[in-house]
């Protein structure tokens, strides 16, 4: 202990489990992180099943793979926005630091994303075992994602949830801090960067190698890149949030 | 009740009243600072100031860990003080008002003796 500045706060420990409690805070009302994502997943599954059944009834016997399982991913964009716009001001009333709020919310999204990924993998394994519910219909078992096995498939799904969550969270933060003009500017900037990358690939006539890179990297490799990108987005979100007034 | 007197003085006076009229006996426990604060809806620090004033005066004394008690002889002490103040607090304003409406000290004395006030004088 330094004797230079013995502030009164020195003898006070930070109460433990505050981070864990932020996760619990996000789950106090189960609707956002549990009920709605489960509904979206269940609904998408049901609709996919109906479509497979209709197509099967029309006499198509081939492999039927739908993209319905991606629906909940988009919802994580909304969760990211809500966690920011609704819960952040309240977190301030609960005397939380921005860092605690951010890490805790990310952890809550991870818990929710993990649950979704688990359901995704279990469905995929079931589809694998039953030959697509016996009607060759695949909701979760999408070959390209599953090449590296169930664990990698789960990781891909999990990464995607977090990726969308952080995007939603960051854009909501930008909107709250810099207003509609700030958000528009950020989106425009992002668009310009993407167009720039496309232009670069086009002018360098690099598309074949870009395509090759995607194929060679595979779903697992792309997932790992995605994790890295999510990490960068998370850092960006935190830096935007760090000095934002409540 | 407010004559611009500080709040803590008013609180102290109210406790004195209770001792004078016998509702708190000598050697009995006096209301605590917190009780006074909650009852009169005032800040406990203000109530404490009033209580301390009574302690300094010898009206109350503290029993460690139990609370405040009325000192033996407190009532006599207060009576003496009130009698001393009587002229200043009641007689002087009475005479000042009497003078303003044209009554001399003798008129006032007469009024007091005959128990005036029961029948207001007609102009």
């Amino acid at each position: 202990m330094t004797t230079l500045n013995p502030g009164a706060a020195m003898d006070h420990e930070v109460p433990r489990n505050r981070l864990l409690n932020v996760v619990r805070l996000q789950f106090v009302n189960t609707q956002t992180f549990v009920v709605v994502p489960a509904l979206v997943l269940g609904g998408a599954w049901l609709i996919s099943m109906l479509i497979f059944w209709v197509i099967g009834g029309a006499g198509v016997d081939g492999v039927k793979a739908g993209g319905g399982s991606q629906a909940p991913l988009w919802y994580f964009l909304a969760i990211g926005i809500q966690a920011m716009t609704m819960t952040f001001p309240f977190s301030q009333a609960m005397s939380l630091t921005r860092r605690e709020f951010f890490i805790g919310s990310l952890a809550a999204a991870a818990v929710s994303g993990f649950g979704m990924a688990l359901v995704f993998v279990l469905l995929g394994l079931f589809e694998q075992a039953t030959g697509g519910y016996g009607i060759n219909g695949y909701f979760a078992y999408l070959e390209w994602i599953w090449v590296a096995g169930p664990f990698a498939a789960g990781l891909t799904y999990f990464t995607a949830t977090l990726f969308f969550f952080t995007i939603g969270f960051w854009f909501a933060t930008i909107f709250k801090r810099f207003g509609a003009l700030g958000l528009t500017t950020a989106l425009l900037g992002l668009g310009l960067v993407l167009v720039g990358l496309v232009a670069l690939a086009t002018f360098q006539q690099a598309w074949p190698s870009v395509g090759r890179w995607f194929t060679e990297t595979g779903s697992l490799g792309l997932t790992l890149w995605g994790l890295l990108l999510t990490g960068i987005l998370a850092v960006g979100s935190y830096l935007t949030l760090r000095r934002m007034p409540a | 009740m407010d004559e611009g007197k500080p709040l803590f003085v008013q609180i102290a006076e109210q406790v004195e009243e209770s001792i004078l009229d016998g509702s708190i006996a000598e050697e009995a426990q006096a209301p605590s600072t917190n009780e006074l604060a909650v009852f009169h809806r005032i800040n406990p620090a203000t109530a404490a100031k009033g209580v301390n004033m009574l302690v300094d005066k010898g009206v109350l004394y503290k029993r460690r860990g139990i609370g405040m008690f009325v000192s033996p002889g407190a009532r006599e002490l207060l009576l003496k003080e009130r009698r001393n103040d009587f002229a200043l607090r009641y007689v002087q304003p009475l005479l000042a008002e009497a003078q303003r409406i044209g009554l001399g000290p003798d008129d006032v004395a007469d009024l007091i003796r005959t128990g005036a006030g029961a029948t207001p004088a007609q102009p």
Partner: protein, 306 residues
């Protein structure tokens, strides 16, 4: 001196306005402070910065000896009840209290439940659907039951009727008496809180206009009423902060308290004294200040008061 909060040369500038202008003050431990002043005077900004919900433009803030910004060690000992607190859209009061119980180490569930009863808060109605008064009551319950070492109440009574406000004041006082802590209560219902508070911090246009004990503040000014000429003689040489006349009768509020002998002399001339309530004093001081005096009367008078 045992101050839990120290503010030095704090300035907060927004794009188009200065909310706090080089403000310095201390907050003592275990006292109830009244943070008084008009709307827009800078009360909310000051509280937001003290609780690290907002950032200063310049100057320094110390809470428990440390900078509160992103400081969980400090923040976990504070509770800030905002007048316009936002809650998650789909949350109900039960959710809000459950959350508060997680984060305030001294939270008292028994007290919370009593208060919920007192204010008749519907626990399962969505917060969005609560009346303004019920919404305020949710904040009041969190602020009181958290028993935080420093609790900030920013106009906590909006929409509460007189009965509910009295419940708040009574509960605050009773719980404070039992569990002393530091409380900053911002309000413009000055009469209602003037007996509750131990110290007054008056903010006007981003500056501290008064930093006094409530007791001293109440004796800061005197009001004298009587014949215009006599009143003028009596207040000659004193700093007059307000004057009004009706026919030959004049009422003047001036700073300071005349000695008993002076009072007797004035009374002999038929002048009457009336106390100046905290509310009157504050209204007069802020009016006088906005009238454009460059020196605040509280400052110029300080020397003679100490």
């Amino acid at each position: 001196m045992n101050s839990v909060i120290q503010v030095r040369n704090l300035t907060k500038r927004y794009k188009d306005a200065v909310a706090l202008d080089d403000v310095s003050f201390d907050i003592e431990k275990d006292a109830i402070y009244g943070l008084l002043g008009r709307n827009g005077a800078g009360k909310t900004t000051a509280m937001s910065i003290l609780t690290a919900q907002n950032l200063p433009t310049s100057g320094e803030v110390r809470v428990f000896g440390e900078n509160p910004y992103e400081n969980a060690r400090v923040l976990s000992r504070l509770c800030f009840v905002r007048e316009s607190q936002k809650y998650p859209d789909d949350a109900n009061p039960r959710h809000a209290f459950a959350a508060a119980r997680l984060f305030f180490p001294r939270w008292d569930q028994g007290l919370a439940e009593e208060l919920i009863d007192d204010f008749q808060i519907p626990l399962k109605r969505t917060i969005k659907k609560l009346s303004r008064g019920q919404l305020s009551a949710v904040g009041v319950v969190i602020g009181l039951a958290s028993r935080a070492e420093v609790t900030f109440f920013d106009e906590p009574y909006l929409g509460l009727d007189a009965v509910a406000r009295q419940i708040f004041y009574d509960r605050l006082l009773a719980d404070y008496a039992e569990f002393p802590r530091t409380i900053l209560l911002s309000s413009h219902l000055i009469d209602e809180v003037s007996n509750l508070i131990e110290r007054v911090l008056l903010i006007d246009a981003g500056r501290i206009l008064m930093d006094e004990s409530a007791e001293d503040a109440r004796s800061l000014a005197t009001n004298v009423v009587g014949d215009a000429a006599a009143v003028d003689r009596a207040v000659n040489g004193r700093e007059v902060i307000h004057r009004e006349s009706l026919g030959r009768v004049t009422s003047v509020t001036f700073l300071g308290r005349p000695e008993a002998s002076e009072r007797a002399a004035m009374a002999a001339q038929g002048l009457e004294f009336a106390p100046v309530s905290l509310q009157q004093l504050i209204v007069r001081l802020t009016q006088q200040r906005s009238a454009g005096r460059d020196r605040s009367p509280a400052e110029s008078q300080e020397g003679s008061l100490r």
